[in-house]
């Protein structure tokens, strides 16, 4: 078992998950709340990592972080072959899952409830905080777990931008690849088991969080009691 890789993976995933929460929520809010003509383009770009081969993503990240990019030339920020590069790769691959799930949950919140809150004196920020996000919380959390699990499993792009330096930038999925390459199968077995368990627990949670249909609607009536019956008990 490659413990340094394990701990590094946990750290990278933790930071990436926080980034996914912040950027994913912001992006989902932007996509559901703001009406702008070019928004569908932004959405498509955010979702692109779902379908692009990891090597393509890695290539773009090399362009972004490597020599000749504005980041290096103008700001002298050198992230290539460092842990932050792994975080960026993990964030970008996890983000689309978070955005999709959050977006669906936010738009499933009945606008009548938000209107009701408006007439009850709430500002837009307050409505978001007290009504919309609490009602969409299951979808947001499910998206976050999915995104986090995807970040934990990020392999291809990470391999290209971290340089696979054992003990320094080698994450667990890359370490597994390394172990198989050098035929250390016992090592690989254990790490595969750990990865599978983590993914299983994550997905299990997501399944439990997935709301039954109509979860976010304003409460509707199942049975209609007679008015007098209802008051008689009081």
């Amino acid at each position: 078992m490659n413990w340094p890789a394990f701990w590094l993976s946990l750290q990278v995933t933790a930071i990436a998950t926080i980034a996914i929460l912040i950027f994913g929520l912001a992006a989902a809010l932007l996509l559901t709340r703001v009406r702008l003509p070019g928004l569908i383009l932004i959405e498509t770009i955010i979702l692109l990592p779902l379908v692009l081969p990891p090597s393509v993503l890695g290539y773009y990240l090399l362009l972004l972080l490597g020599r000749g990019s504005p980041l290096v030339e103008w700001f002298n920020v050198r992230l290539l072959f460092t842990v932050p590069a792994a975080v960026i790769a993990a964030t970008i691959t996890g983000l689309p899952l978070m955005v999709q799930s959050t977006r669906a949950a936010l738009s499933a919140v009945d606008p009548v409830l938000e209107n009701a809150a408006r007439t009850l004196g709430s500002s837009e920020i307050e409505i978001l905080w007290r009504i919309t996000i609490p009602l969409a919380r299951r979808g947001i959390l499910a998206g976050l777990i999915l995104g986090g699990a995807r970040a934990l499993g990020e392999f291809g792009a990470t391999l290209m931008v971290t340089g696979n330096i054992p003990g320094r930038t080698q994450t667990l999925p890359v370490a597994i690849y390394d172990a198989v390459q050098s035929q250390r199968y016992a090592d690989a077995h254990l790490m595969v088991l750990v990865m599978t368990s983590l993914a299983f627990v994550g997905l299990f949670w997501v399944r439990r969080l997935e709301p039954p249909p109509q979860q976010y609607r304003a409460a509707t009536t199942r049975t209609e009691e007679v008015y007098d019956e209802a008051t008689a008990s009081h």
């Binding site: 009945d110 009548v112 409830l113 209107n115 009701a116 809150a117 408006r118 007439t119 009850l120 004196g121 709430s122 500002s123 007290r130 009504i131 609490p134 009602l135 976010y216 609607r217 304003a218 409460a219 509707t220 009536t221 199942r222 049975t223 209609e224 009691e225 007679v226 008015y227 007098d228 209802a230 008051t231 008990s233 009081h234």
Partner: protein, 397 residues
């Protein structure tokens, strides 16, 4: 100090539909009545600030909520600052909060919020449900909680948007009574949107008939049937027996109308002989005469002979369709229970009588002219004698 008033005068275009509403509401229950899609809900949304009109004014007393007029500064107070209670059709309780938290929602941050929410729940007789979730309540209970929550902002204006249309008759009646009490106690300005005429009569003081984005008439409940403003109002109210007649004689004592050969006598009205007028007869105003009894002096005019074509039983009234001698068919509501039952099988010959007052002449000029809502708000009701009948609404209530 004048009485508080809500004044609305707005225009809003929504695709091909155009909303043009002018209303003044006192502390009363004004029912906005009209078919679906006539602009009733949009009117409420504009008042609450959930929809922004293209132009016009919305004001409560001296406070302008909305103003967009040429050469005047734009004012648009956001919904949260208007302090207007809005009760939605779908109850719109927050499903993640308990009943008590729902009612306390507008008072968040205030120290006695829960205590005051409990007081409001006592007022709607539901304090025992304070810690339930909304989905555990029946529709009627949910709607009462929604009313309590709307009251938590201490509104001067309460809006009901088809709020009870999904509820059973008995529950609706009780809620209507509750709201009437509430309105009287707090002197609230209440607007109540419905497309159900029974509901309108059960709760309202006055009726604003809305069709196609326009106010056709504002009148008290009594007046609207006696003095319908125009043909469209008749259609919306569902009054049958609309007749087209020609004026034969017009005197201070009576108006004599020729309905395709049948002479009908109605109340005097300033219509020149020879002119064509539209009138209607409410089905419950046509009396079926007992063949063996003397005729009461109030129905000494307008005897008609007819043959029953159809008889449809009803709970309070039988609806009869009777063919008259001029081959027109009229609808008659005949009480289901009378001291002496009259056999009324189809095919039977019957004698009918009509009071002079029951022939309601509609000022026909409204039908031909393009409609402008201002006609019905004319503060000088007698500027045109033809409208004399229509404008009684201004003196009423």
């Amino acid at each position: 100090m004048t009485k508080p008033q809500l004044h609305i005068d707005i225009v809003k275009r929504l695709g091909t539909f155009s909303l043009q509403i002018e209303l003044s509401v006192r502390p009363e229950i004004l029912v906005l009545f009209g078919p679906s899609g006539s602009g009733k809900t949009q009117t409420l949304q504009a008042i609450a600030g959930l929809m922004t009109p293209d132009s016009g004014t919305i004001a409560l007393n001296d406070t302008l909520f909305f103003q967009r007029r040429p050469a005047l500064p734009l004012i648009n107070v956001p919904a949260r600052k208007r302090c207007i209670g809005y009760v939605f059709q779908q109850y719109a309780l927050f499903p993640h909060l308990t009943v008590l938290e729902n009612v306390a929602y507008p008072m968040a941050g205030q120290r006695d919020a829960h205590q005051r929410a409990l007081t409001l729940l006592e007022r709607i007789r539901l304090p025992h449900l304070a810690h339930r979730m909304p989905h555990q309540l029946s529709g009627g209970q949910q709607q009462r909680v929604a009313i309590a929550r709307a009251l938590a902002t201490n509104p001067r204006v309460l809006l009901f948007d088809e709020s009870f249309s999904a509820l059973d008759r008995a529950i609706r009646d009780q809620l209507h009574a509750d709201i009437r009490t509430l309105q009287a106690e707090e002197q609230l300005i209440v607007l109540y949107v419905t497309h159900n005429l029974d509901d309108a009569f059960a709760i309202g003081h006055r009726l604003a008939i809305i069709r196609n984005g326009h106010v056709e008439q504002v009148a008290t409940l009594d007046d609207v049937f006696v003095h319908p403003a125009n043909r469209r109002v008749l259609d919306i109210l569902g009054i049958p027996n609309i007749i087209h007649t020609r004026v034969i004689e017009s005197s201070t004592a009576r108006l004599l109308l020729d309905w395709d050969g049948l002479m009908l006598e109605s109340m005097p009205l300033d219509c020149p002989p020879g002119s064509e007028v539209t009138a209607c007869i409410r089905p419950e105003d046509i009396r079926v005469l007992y063949p063996d009894r003397p005729v009461s002096h109030v129905v000494q005019h307008n005897y008609l002979d007819g043959t029953i074509v159809e008889r449809r039983p009803g709970r309070h009234m039988h609806r009869l369709r009777v063919a008259l001698s001029d081959r027109h068919v009229v609808e008659i509501d005949h009480p289901t229970r009378t001291y002496t039952n009259l056999p009324l099988p189809p095919g039977a010959a019957v004698k009918l009588a009509l009071r002079k007052e029951s022939i309601i002449v509609i000022p026909s000029r409204h039908d031909r002219q393009g409609h402008t809502s201002h006609q019905h708000y004319d503060p000088k009701p007698h500027s045109n004698p033809t409208y004399q009948h229509v404008h009684h609404e201004h003196n009423a209530s």
